[in-house]
Symmetry: C2
Subunit: 265 residues, 2 copies
């Protein structure tokens, strides 16, 4: 992520936010991201601002539990949509290798072309196999209508644990009803996805994924009993509550100090 | 805004939000809205959710003061960007007629083609003249760099009062330094635009514009002295503080009740 690459001055007060946005706009121009994905990203920016644009302590707790859950899983799958592919393709591939997870393309607005583009992008970062593309998405999630219910019979259908970054609430609920253990990455601690997940990482995906990878590396050599105890002691409701408290406190603090929330246009 | 027009069921719990989004995506496909405008809209959706998706009392206060200010102005201008044109073209034209305001296209990402498209759209809704298009944007706002500083010598340059819906913070500050009386419509009560404006309507533009038009009609026959007293008694800082309190209260309430903030994907 170089200065020249995005032509954004590194001194800009909102440098990172602008770089992330630029990545998404580029993904959009390549046909990987849909217009609705840009709108969803804007919403994320707002929540990111409210949580202070850094990985908060409760998010670190969730990341630790997520790392343990992925390492304990028998058949973990990482679900990838357009925004995820545009923002963290390298990290998705790296994580999938570390925990032996399958990668599955999972689009809210499904099109064969976009599936292939995303698969190609992930393969260019070293993914050996990408599920959920074309004919592979031949199984269906019960409860869901339309193309959104299509999943791979070798991936999400038989997975025990699914990492769903930036996922839709309907789909998250349907996966839960199928009995999956769900790890969400979602900036809105009050979203349905955040509430239905077993572990919710309330953080920006561009910060959370590298930290999740780091935590997996840390825990990889631990005995399974230790990983299980991390999961047993994890309380997702408490984590969500704490994240919400952080947002409320940030707003109160900003209001008290008369500070401006300056978001780039 | 019919059911058939957008193919969204009127029973959908987030019907209005989806309709607004669809208008923007259509504006985007027509070349009126830029990708960055979609991201900015997503951010707005988040703040709209936090203010409760309705026009709150402090916003009504601001709308009343804005109506008075526009009626008192000698040379009012309504500044229009891509998102404004996509969302409230009819209302922009109607308001400009009621208060004798000029309409000026003012793009953060300026292109001649987009200027013309927006002017044509506004003319299709009955605008007799649209400034800031092509050669007309020949004057510059001091302090600002690049194409973003271009304004019309017959519009914003000589205006006393400028209505800036959904405006960038840099530009809002520059206009203020030029001595303009600024009325902003902005869903983020902590933005630089919100803080630098003389009157800040913290509300969704699709709700605020019809209410502003209604208020102008109500006040149109009042004596100037009455309008002046409305303005003198208006306290923008207090309004911003109250809006922020509403956001904090909403978040606390949502957290307490365990309610989900369910935003459409």
């Amino acid at each position: 992520m170089e200065l020249d690459e995005f032509e954004i001055p590194k001194t800009h007060p909102r440098y990172w936010s602008l770089v992330i946005r630029e990545k998404l706009v580029r993904g959009f121009r390549k046909g990987i991201v849909v217009p609705q994905g840009l709108i969803a990203h804007g919403r994320g920016e707002c929540f990111d601002y409210l949580i202070g644009e850094r990985t908060q302590e409760p998010a670190l707790e969730a990341i630790r539990a997520a790392a343990a859950a992925l390492l304990l899983a028998e058949r973990p799958v990482i679900s990838v949509n357009g925004n995820v592919a545009a923002l963290v393709p390298k990290e998705v591939v790296e994580l999938s290798r570390l925990v032996n997870a399958k990668i599955e393309v999972n689009l809210f607005y499904r099109s064969k072309e976009r599936e292939y583009l995303i698969a190609e992008l992930l393969k260019s970062y070293g993914a050996s196999e990408v599920l959920g593309v074309g004919e592979d998405a031949s199984a269906v999630i019960p409860e869901l209508m339309s193309e959104r219910r299509r999943v791979s019979p070798r991936g999400i259908l038989i997975a025990d644990t699914v990492l769903i970054p930036l996922e839709d609430g309907d789909r998250a609920e349907a996966l839960k009803k199928m009995g999956k253990f769900i790890i969400a990455i979602d900036l809105n601690p009050l979203s349905r996805t955040a509430r239905v997940a077993d572990i919710t990482i309330v953080d920006n995906i561009v910060r959370a994924m590298p930290k999740l990878i780091e935590e997996v590396r840390n825990l990889k050599k631990c005995p399974r009993e230790h990983l299980k105890s991390i999961l047993q002691n994890y309380d997702n409701d408490a984590v969500l509550r704490k994240m919400l408290q952080i947002i409320v406190r940030n707003l109160e603090e900003l209001a008290r100090r008369g500070v401006t929330i300056s978001l780039p246009k």
